[in-house]
C-alpha cells in the first residue's frame, strides 16, 4: 500500500512538472490521473482465452484416449504390425527399384500428373478470380459476399475424392472427371484467399477512383488487381503444390492416370514395396522442387513490386 501511494504521488509530480512546460489548457495530470487508481491486485491468471485453450486441449485429450480405448485391437497384432511396417519402410526407402516401367515412362507419368494439377489450378484460378471479386467486402454488396462465402464453404466441406467420384458418374472415370472434380476445391480455396487479398486494399483508393467517375470494371482492373497481383500469384503457386499432391491421390483413388495410378498399382495390386519406394522418391523430389521454385518466384515477385 505504501508502494502504491508512492507511485501515484510520484506520477502526479511528474505530470505537474510536464504540464508546467506546456502552454495548453489541459494538463497531463487531468488527462491521465484524475480518476485513475492503479490496481496492484494479483494478476488474473485465467482469462477467457486460456480457459478456452485448456478446454480444447482437455477435450481433445479425452477424445484421443476414448479412441484408443475403444479401438478394435483383436483382429490385428499391433506389435507385429509395427515391426512389419518398419521392415517395409526399410525395403521401400533403402532398395527402391522400378520393375514394371522405365525411368522415361515414370517421368512421362509425372508430367501427366503435373498437367492435371496445372489445368485444375488454371480453371480454379480463373473462376476464383471472378468469385473472389464478388466475395470481397469492399467491392460487392454484403448479401452477395455472404452468399458466395457460404457457397464456397459448402464446396470445401465435401472431400475432393467425393467430388471426383460424383463427376465420374456423369463424365466417366478419367482425366475429365478428375480435373473438374478437383477444380471445385481449388475454386473454393482460391476464392477465399483472393477475396482476402482484395480486402487488404485501402478503401480510400477505391473511393478516389469512384469519385473520378471510374466504373466497377475500371476500379477492378486499374487498382484492385494490380495492387494484389503478388499475393494472387503466390496463393496460386501454393495451390498448385497442393493440387499436385491431390492429383497423385486422385490418380490412385479415381483412376485419373499419372504417377498416382502407378503408385496405387504398385502398392495395392502388386504389393511391390521397392516400386512404391521408387515412386515415392520421385514424388518427393518433384514436391520439393515445386516448393523451392515457388519460394524463389515469391521472392522475385516481392522484389519486383
Amino acid at each position: 500500500m505504501q508502494f502504491k501511494e508512492l507511485i501515484v504521488q510520484e506520477t502526479n509530480n511528474i505530470c505537474e512538472q510536464l504540464s508546467s512546460y506546456e502552454d495548453r489548457h489541459t494538463s497531463f495530470k487531468e488527462l491521465f490521473l484524475t480518476k485513475d487508481t492503479i490496481n496492484f491486485g494479483p494478476i488474473k491468471l485465467l482469462d477467457r482465452a486460456s480457459i478456452a485453450m485448456r478446454t480444447v486441449i482437455l477435450f481433445l485429450t479425452v477424445l484421443t484416449i476414448y479412441f484408443f480405448s475403444t479401438l478394435d485391437y483383436q483382429s490385428i497384432d499391433v506389435l507385429k504390425g509395427f515391426t512389419d511396417t518398419f521392415v517395409n519402410f526399410k525395403t521401400m526407402f533403402l532398395n527402391p527399384y522400378a520393375q514394371r516401367f522405365t525411368l522415361g515412362e515414370a517421368f512421362y507419368n509425372v508430367v501427366v500428373t503435373l498437367g492435371l494439377a496445372f489445368l485444375t489450378t488454371l480453371i480454379g484460378g480463373i473462376v476464383a478470380l471472378l468469385l473472389g471479386l464478388l466475395a470481397a467486402q469492399n467491392l460487392a454488396p454484403k448479401q452477395v459476399t455472404n452468399l458466395i462465402k457460404g457457397f464456397v464453404a459448402i464446396i470445401r466441406a465435401v472431400p475432393t475424392i467425393l467430388w471426383v467420384l460424383i463427376f465420374a458418374v456423369a463424365a466417366g472415370l478419367g482425366s475429365a472427371a478428375a480435373i473438374i472434380g478437383m477444380s471445385f476445391h481449388s475454386i473454393s480455396y482460391l476464392t477465399k484467399a483472393y477475396s482476402e487479398s482484395f480486402e487488404d486494399l485501402d478503401r480510400s483508393v477505391i473511393e478516389a477512383l469512384m469519385a473520378s467517375g471510374a466504373n466497377w470494371w475500371q476500379i477492378v482492373f486499374q487498382a484492385v488487381i494490380p495492387s494484389s497481383v503478388t499475393y494472387l500469384l503466390s496463393w496460386t503457386f501454393l495451390r498448385f503444390e497442393i493440387n499436385f499432391a491431390n492429383a497423385v491421390a486422385m490418380g490412385a483413388a479415381a483412376g485419373a492416370g499419372g504417377i498416382g495410378f502407378d503408385l496405387f498399382m504398385a502398392g495395392g495390386f502388386y504389393f511391390d514395396l521397392r516400386e512404391v519406394g521408387f515412386i515415392t522418391y520421385l514424388i518427393i523430389a518433384i514436391a520439393i522442387a515445386l516448393e523451392v521454385f515457388s519460394t524463389n518466384i515469391k521472392g522475385k515477385l516481392q522484389k519486383s513490386i
Binding site: 478456452a52 484421443t64 476414448y66 479412441f67 472431400p159 467425393l162 475429365a176 502398392g267 515415392t280 518427393i284
Partner: protein
C-alpha cells in the same frame, strides 16, 4: 518514357499469357483431357445429381450403419492430430531457430518434417495397409504421419514468429532452457498452435475419406460401397453427413479461434 513503361508492361503480360496458353495446350494433350466433355459434364452432373443424387426416405435405413463409421472417422482424425501435435511440438522446439539446442538437432527435425510432409498420403496408406490390413489403425497412422510433417512445419514457424526478445529477457535473468520454454515460448505461441491444430483436424476428416476409399476403412469405405453398388441415394446421404460434420467442426473451431486469438 511513359510509352516505354506501358509497352513493357503490355509485353510482359503478353509473354505471361502466351506461357499460360502453351502450358494449357500441353497439359490438355498429355492428360488426354477432353475440354468439351469436361465442361458439358458439369451440366450433365447437375441434371443427374438433381434426379438421382439425393437422400430419399428409403436410404435413411443405413443411418444405424453409418453413424458408428462416421464417429470412428471423426475420432480417428482427432486422435491422429492430437498425438501428432504432441510429437510435432517436441520436433519444432528442437528445430526452431530460436529454441534449438544446436544445429544438428535443427537440421534433423527440419528434415523429418519435410520428408513426412512430402510423402503422399497414398504411399502411407498403401504401405500401412500391407501390415495393418483393413483396421482403423491403418487410417490412423496414415493421417498421423501426414499431420506430423505439416504440424511440425507450422509450429516451427509459429515459434520463430514469437521472436527472441522475451527469450533474451529470460536468459538475462538466468532462467534455464526449460523455464524459457514453459514461461515464454509456449504461452506466446499456444493460441496460434491451437488454431493450426483445429485446422488440421478439419483437413484430416476430409483426408480420412480418401484414405477410407483407398484402404477400405471408416466413412470413405461406406461411401465407396454404396457408390459401387449404384445406391446413389445412400451415397448422397453419406456425403451429406460428411458435409454437416465438417461444417460443424469448422464453426466450432472458428468460434474457438475468435476467443483465443
Amino acid at each position: 518514357m511513359r510509352d516505354d513503361i506501358f509497352t513493357k508492361r503490355r509485353n510482359g503480360n503478353l509473354v505471361f499469357l502466351l506461357a499460360l496458353l502453351i502450358l494449357s495446350v500441353g497439359s490438355i494433350i498429355i492428360t488426354e483431357y477432353d475440354v468439351i466433355k469436361g465442361f458439358t459434364s458439369i451440366t450433365r452432373a447437375v441434371i443427374w445429381g438433381g434426379s438421382n443424387f439425393y437422400p430419399d426416405a428409403e436410404s435413411l435405413r443405413i443411418l444405424p450403419e453409418i453413424f458408428p463409421k462416421l464417429q470412428e472417422t471423426v475420432l480417428m482424425s482427432i486422435a491422429a492430430t492430437t498425438v501428432a501435435a504432441v510429437l510435432a511440438l517436441v520436433l519444432s522446439l528442437a528445430g526452431s531457430q530460436t529454441t534449438r539446442i544446436n544445429r544438428i538437432f535443427s537440421i534433423v527435425s527440419r528434415g523429418i518434417a519435410s520428408l513426412f510432409r512430402n510423402i503422399p498420403i497414398v504411399a502411407w496408406a498403401m504401405v500401412l495397409m500391407i501390415s495393418f490390413s483393413q483396421s482403423p489403425l491403418t487410417g490412423y497412422l496414415a493421417l498421423f504421419f501426414g499431420s506430423l510433417g505439416f504440424l511440425t512445419r507450422a509450429f516451427m514457424e509459429t515459434i520463430d514468429e514469437v521472436g527472441n526478445n522475451s527469450i533474451e529477457a529470460l536468459q538475462a535473468t538466468g532462467a534455464g532452457y526449460f523455464h524459457i520454454i514453459f514461461q515464454a515460448v509456449l504461452p506466446a505461441s499456444m493460441p496460434q498452435m491451437i488454431s493450426w491444430l483445429l485446422y488440421m483436424i478439419e483437413t484430416n476428416i476430409r483426408d480420412a475419406t480418401l484414405v477410407g476409399v483407398l484402404t477400405g476403412t471408416g466413412i470413405g469405405f461406406s461411401f465407396d460401397l454404396y457408390y459401387k453398388r449404384f445406391d446413389y441415394h445412400a451415397a448422397s446421404l453419406v456425403v451429406l453427413l460428411i458435409v454437416i460434420t465438417v461444417i460443424v467442426i469448422e464453426l466450432v473451431s472458428n468460434n474457438v479461434r475468435r476467443v483465443i486469438l
